[in-house]
Amino acid sequence: MADNILNYSLADFHYNDNADVLSPPDDFNEWINNPKVKEVFSFFEQELLDAPRVSTEILSNLDGKKRHIINLTSYNYLGLSTHPEVIQAAVEAVQKYGLSSSGAPLLSGTLDIHTELASKIAAFKQKEDCLLYSSGFGGNVGAIQGIMRKGDFLVMDEKCHRSLVDGGTLSGAKMLFFAHNDMDSLQMMLEKCKGKRVLVVVEGVYSMDGDLAKMPEIVEICEQYKAGIYIDEAHSTLMFGENGRGVAEHFGVEDKVGITFGTMSKSFGGVGGFVCANKSLIKYLKGYSSPWNFSCAPSPAVSGGLIKALEVATRDSSLRDKMWENTRFMKKSLLAMNLDLGDTESQVIPIIIGASGEKLLKYAAGMQTRGLFLQPVDFPAVPAHARRFRMSVSSQLTQAEMDETLNIIEDVIVKGEKS
């Protein structure tokens, strides 16, 4: 392993043959403690010393220095986590209810502000009811695990988030993966489970590529096969569609989508997840979705803040308009530099570097040293031939910050690729 240590990744140490169950695999220890691998991992868990705004400060693991940076890695797309009205609402909620809900939602954890938030989210998403989860990951796991059973079929886009896959594994349903956004492949998978209970699972915006699910075609094929549709709008809620309801609204197919999921940690600026569907399915989920009925209900501060975040983001379109204006500018400028942005159609803009992990890390270090916090995304999170940076464009970006960002990218990545 020592002569090709950087070819190994976290994908290679999942199985553990160590006789001591309290220890990781022996070769994992050898790998993770190798100086070259340590250098790779130094990019992770760097501390932010201030709020995750575009303009913030980090304690750099590269040289141990505090550094003021332009942060294009946090997914605070609309800047709501630090919006003054949202903070005020969170403060008022914590003053009234304290830090914790102190109970599972079924027994004692449901506060009036949870009911208000769920009801407002359901109305916003134009669904009959909504279930709130303390974690976005838990929401996807819980919804899939709560609905699907052994003998059922989940037909998922191969780029679906880990939370959806884990929910599928836990449910016991048979999982079939179709090639990303490939309608022939989707149809082929649906042929394999004709006559069964089938749920097709897609994402509004795919989180590592920024492209959109082909909803009009997906809806048409699912109707043909009588399959239900579950859409994860984690990276699209409050941003896509005329009213910000997401990619299903953008394509005008909301009434054809049975279950819509979203996170509270991205555009909403809080933390948690929600699932919206018809009343009877939500009622059923309350009995069978373990991350809901065996977790403490969401924190009062977060829930109070989220009610205000929804109001701020939907009372007019100014925040998402600004986010889109910034996204268009960044995309156009990056394309003018001949960078490979994949098929992005959203505020998630990948800059695809290719197969070289060493180049990826060299550029990441170069940009951070210049004041741009754009984190590398390496295999196995993305394919080994398409290692990348993933830029999250925010409404908070000023023109000066965008210009500086582009200068740094040109100096580090564009010039690096030419040398």
């Binding site: 070819n7 290679d12 999942h14 199985y15 594994t169 993966f177 394999k192 295999f379």
Partner: protein
């Protein structure tokens, strides 16, 4: 270690990890997908086979492999290195 032995181990793991293949003969020129494997099944088959053969090929080097035969070649090259 021979290529035949490697193919035998991979084929056995395909049969054990996938549904309805008990009486199938695995054709090495096909891919695991042809036998109904999803990405999680493929990780399972590859991991079980590598453990049995006592080799460890980085996953990043398996990305372009399409057929069982190509996988066996990769395993063999690694075992001989």
């Amino acid at each position: 270690m021979t290529k035949e032995k490697i193919i035998e181990v991979i084929s056995q793991n395909i049969i054990e990890n996938l549904d309805d293949l008990e009486n199938e003969t695995i054709d090495p020129m096909k891919s695991m997908k042809d036998y109904g494997a999803n990405s999680l099944d493929m990780i399972e088959v590859v991991s079980c086979s590598m453990r049995e053969l006592n080799i460890k090929v980085p996953r990043a080097e398996l990305a372009d492999i399409e057929t069982i035969d190509q996988l066996a070649d990769k395993f063999l090259a690694f075992a001989e290195a």
